[in-house]
C-alpha cells in the first residue's frame, strides 16, 4: 500500500515538474519573441524618424552616372537604418543588415568596448544634410559627405559619476560633419565606411 502511494506521489511530482518546466519554456519563448518584436519595432520607428530628418543636397557635379531616384531611396533607408542600429546597441545582429566592412568592425568594437571611460549615448537625430560625391560606373559604390549632422545627444556614464560632484547625464545639441561610403553587396546596400569630420 505504501509502495503504491509512493509510486503515485513520485509520478505526480514528475508530472508537476514537467508541466512547470514546459510552462516556463513556453512563457520564456513568448517573452523572447515579444522582446525581439519590440526591438525590431523600435528600430523601424527610429529608422523612419531618421529618414525624415535627411535632406539631400544636389550631387557633386563630377558625379557620373547620376544617382537614380530609386537608388537614392534605398540609400536613404539603409543610411537611416545604420544610424538606428548603431544608436540601439542592443540589436547587434541588426548591424549586419546595414553595415559591412570597416564600418561593421568599428560598430562591433564600439558595442563590445568595456572600458570605464566609455559613455552611453542616446541620440535624437534632428537633421542630416547629405551630398553624393562619388558614384562608381558599375553603380555599386557611393561616397557621401554630410556637412551637417545635427543631433541632440544625451551622454551618461563614462568616468563621470555623481560622486565627482558633476551631473552624470548631460544633454547637448551638436553638429558634426561626417563622411560615408556605401557599397552594394548581393544587391543590398550597406554602409561600408563611416568617418567623422572632414566634409567641406
Amino acid at each position: 500500500m505504501n509502495w503504491q502511494f509512493l509510486k503515485r506521489t513520485k509520478m505526480a511530482i514528475f508530472a508537476l515538474l514537467f508541466c512547470t518546466l514546459s510552462s516556463f519554456a513556453v512563457v520564456r519563448d513568448l517573452w523572447k519573441g515579444h522582446t525581439r518584436a519590440t526591438e525590431l519595432s523600435r528600430l523601424l520607428s527610429d529608422q523612419a524618424s531618421i529618414s525624415k530628418s535627411i535632406e539631400w543636397l544636389p550631387d557633386d557635379p563630377k558625379v557620373s552616372p547620376a544617382v537614380e531616384p530609386k537608388t537614392r531611396v534605398l540609400l536613404t533607408n539603409i543610411y537611416a537604418l545604420a544610424w538606428a542600429s548603431i544608436d540601439d546597441g542592443q540589436v547587434g545582429e541588426q548591424l549586419k543588415q546595414s553595415l559591412s566592412g570597416p564600418a561593421l568592425t568599428q560598430a562591433w568594437s564600439d558595442l563590445n568596448d568595456r572600458e570605464d571611460s566609455r559613455a552611453i549615448v542616446h541620440n535624437r537625430h534632428l537633421r542630416h544634410v547629405l551630398r553624393v560625391t562619388y558614384y562608381s560606373e558599375d553603380r555599386s559604390i557611393v561616397a557621401i559627405e554630410a556637412p551637417e549632422i545635427l543631433r541632440e545627444q544625451t551622454i551618461t556614464g563614462g568616468s563621470a559619476t555623481k560622486q565627482d560632484g558633476l551631473s552624470s547625464t548631460t544633454t547637448e545639441r551638436r553638429s558634426d560633419a561626417f563622411r560615408f561610403v556605401m557599397r552594394q553587396h548581393d544587391g543590398e546596400w550597406r554602409v561600408e565606411m563611416i568617418q567623422k569630420g572632414g566634409a567641406s
Partner: protein, 437 residues
C-alpha cells in the same frame, strides 16, 4: 500591545452605507485614498521631473556665460604607437577649483573622463586607444557652469597590406572611349580610411603588352580612378599601389565594339525549291573598326522574304562568324535576306532558288461518274523520283483541294466531278493544268 478590531465593526464601516456613521467613515476613507493618490502623483512627478535637473545638465552656450579654453599638445601624431596627446583645459577664473569632465567623440564612440580643476586649469593625457580612429576627434570639456570644445584630426596610419581594388564594370568596349572604374577602399591597421589626398597609383597592362600608370588620390574616404579602355580586345591587368602596400592583380576584359557593316554569304552554286534541303547563309567575319573580332555568342538576327513568305532566324557567332540555316522554300523564286548585329545592318543578300521538279504527266480516266487523276512519274532535277511523301495538291475550278502524297513517283486520286471540270496539280514549284474530259 496589539488591539484587535472586532470583525463586525469593520464590516459596518465598509458596507453599511445607510448608517450615517458608516457613511461618514466611507467618506473619510475616500478622502484618505484621494490624499494618498495625490501624494503618490506628486512624488512620481517630482521623481520624473523635479529630480531630473539635478542629474541632467542642459548645456547650451548661450546659458553659460563662462567658457573653458581647450588647447591640445600632440607629439608623434603620425606614429600610432608613440602618439601622445594632452588636452589642457583652462577656466576664465584662474582660482577655479572643482571637477571637470572631458567628452571625447570619435566617429561612433563617445568616452568621458573626469579631472579636477586646480587653480583654473587641468590637463588630460588621452589614452592612445581613444585616438586610434583616423578621423576627427572632438573634445568637449564642461563643468556645471562652463563649457569649451576643440577638434583634433588624427591621421590614419600606413595602409594595411593587401590593398583591395573594387573594379567595375569588369568588361569594357575596346574603343578608347569606354572604360571602367577602380574604387580603392583601403584602410589602415586599425580599419580607418586613409587620409585625404593619400596618393594611389594604378599599374595597368594592356592586352598588347603596353604598360601605363594612372595616378589618383583618396578623396572622401576612397580613391575612384577611371581607367579608359584601349583599342585591342583581350585582358587588361590592373594593380593598385599605395606607398609600399599593394594587392592582387585584377583582370578586366576588353571586348570588341559593334562590328563594321558586313556582308552575307551563300556559297551554294544552286539552290532548289524542294522544301527540305537547307539554304546556308553565313556572315563575314565580324570585327569592329579596330579589327577586334566580336565575342563568341554575339547574336545575329536574320530577316528576309522568300517565295514562301517572310522569315526570321537567329544565330550566334563562333570565332566571329554566324551560320544561319534556312529551310528551302517549296516554291522557286528569289530569297532576299539581311542580318543585324548590335544595330549594324549587313548588305542585302539575294539567293535564286530554282525549280527542283521536272515536267510530269497528268493522266485522267473516267470510270462512270468517277474520275481518276494520276500524276507521274514526278522526278527531281537529277531525273530520279521525288522523295516519297512529297505532296501533290489537286485544285478544282470550284476551289476544292485534295492533297495526296507521292509514292514511287506517282500520286492519284478519285473524285466525283461534272464533265468538263478543269483542275491544276502542283508538286512543289511545278504546276500542271488538266481537265476531266
Amino acid at each position: 500591545m496589539m488591539k484587535l478590531i472586532p470583525h463586525a465593526s469593520l464590516k459596518s464601516a465598509h458596507t453599511d452605507h445607510t448608517n450615517p456613521e458608516g457613511k461618514a467613515g466611507w467618506t473619510r476613507l475616500l478622502r484618505r485614498w484621494t490624499a494618498g493618490l495625490m501624494l503618490l502623483t506628486t512624488l512620481s512627478a517630482y521623481l520624473l521631473v523635479g529630480a531630473g535637473p539635478k542629474t541632467t545638465a542642459i548645456l547650451a552656450v548661450d546659458r553659460l556665460p563662462k567658457t573653458l579654453t581647450l588647447s591640445i599638445d600632440a607629439t608623434n601624431i603620425a606614429d600610432s604607437e608613440r602618439r601622445r596627446v594632452v588636452v589642457y583645459v583652462r577656466a576664465e577664473d584662474v582660482k577655479a577649483n572643482g571637477p571637470v569632465r572631458l567628452d571625447i567623440q570619435s566617429s561612433l564612440q563617445v568616452s568621458r573622463i573626469v579631472g579636477t580643476l586646480r587653480g583654473g586649469s587641468e590637463s588630460f593625457l588621452i589614452p592612445p586607444t581613444l585616438l586610434d580612429v583616423g578621423s576627427e576627434v572632438s573634445f568637449s570639456a564642461s563643468t556645471e557652469a562652463e563649457r569649451g570644445s576643440a577638434h583634433f584630426a588624427v591621421p590614419a596610419g600606413e595602409p594595411s597590406s593587401g590593398v583591395m581594388p573594387i573594379v567595375g564594370p569588369r568588361h569594357m568596349i575596346a574603343d578608347g572611349q569606354h572604360g571602367t572604374t577602380v574604387s580603392v577602399l583601403s584602410v589602415d591597421r586599425a580599419n580607418n580610411a586613409l587620409s585625404e589626398n593619400t596618393p594611389v597609383t594604378l599599374f595597368v597592362r594592356r592586352p598588347d603588352g603596353t604598360e601605363t600608370t594612372i595616378p589618383g588620390s583618396v578623396k572622401g574616404l576612397l580613391a575612384g580612378i577611371h581607367v579608359p579602355s584601349g583599342t585591342r580586345a583581350g585582358f587588361t591587368s590592373i594593380r593598385v599601389a599605395i606607398g609600399k602596400s599593394t594587392g592582387p592583380v585584377i583582370q578586366v576584359r576588353e571586348v570588341a565594339g559593334p562590328p563594321v557593316p558586313f556582308a552575307l554569304e551563300n556559297e551554294a552554286v544552286s539552290q532548289v525549291a524542294n522544301g527540305r534541303s537547307l539554304v546556308e547563309i553565313r556572315t563575314a567575319r565580324l570585327a569592329d573598326k579596330f579589327g577586334n573580332i566580336v565575342e563568341d555568342g554575339t547574336l545575329v538576327d536574320l530577316t528576309g522574304i522568300g517565295p514562301d513568305g517572310a522569315f526570321k532566324l537567329t544565330a550566334s557567332t563562333i570565332d566571329g562568324r554566324a551560320v544561319l540555316r534556312l529551310r528551302s522554300p517549296i516554291r522557286f523564286g528569289v530569297i532576299e535576306a539581311v542580318a543585324r548585329v548590335q544595330g549594324v545592318k549587313s548588305t542585302l543578300l539575294h539567293i535564286a532558288v530554282g525549280n527542283d521538279v521536272a515536267e510530269f504527266e497528268v493522266v485522267t480516266k473516267r470510270i462512270g461518274s468517277v474520275v481518276n487523276v494520276t500524276v507521274g512519274p514526278v522526278t527531281s532535277g537529277l531525273g530520279g523520283f521525288v522523295p516519297d511523301g512529297t505532296p501533290a495538291v489537286f485544285t478544282w475550278s470550284d476551289g476544292q483541294q485534295r492533297r495526296v502524297e507521292i509514292r514511287d513517283g506517282f500520286a492519284s486520286t478519285d473524285l466525283l466531278v461534272t464533265t468538263g471540270d478543269r483542275f491544276t496539280v502542283q508538286v512543289l514549284g511545278r504546276i500542271r493544268e488538266g481537265t476531266t474530259l
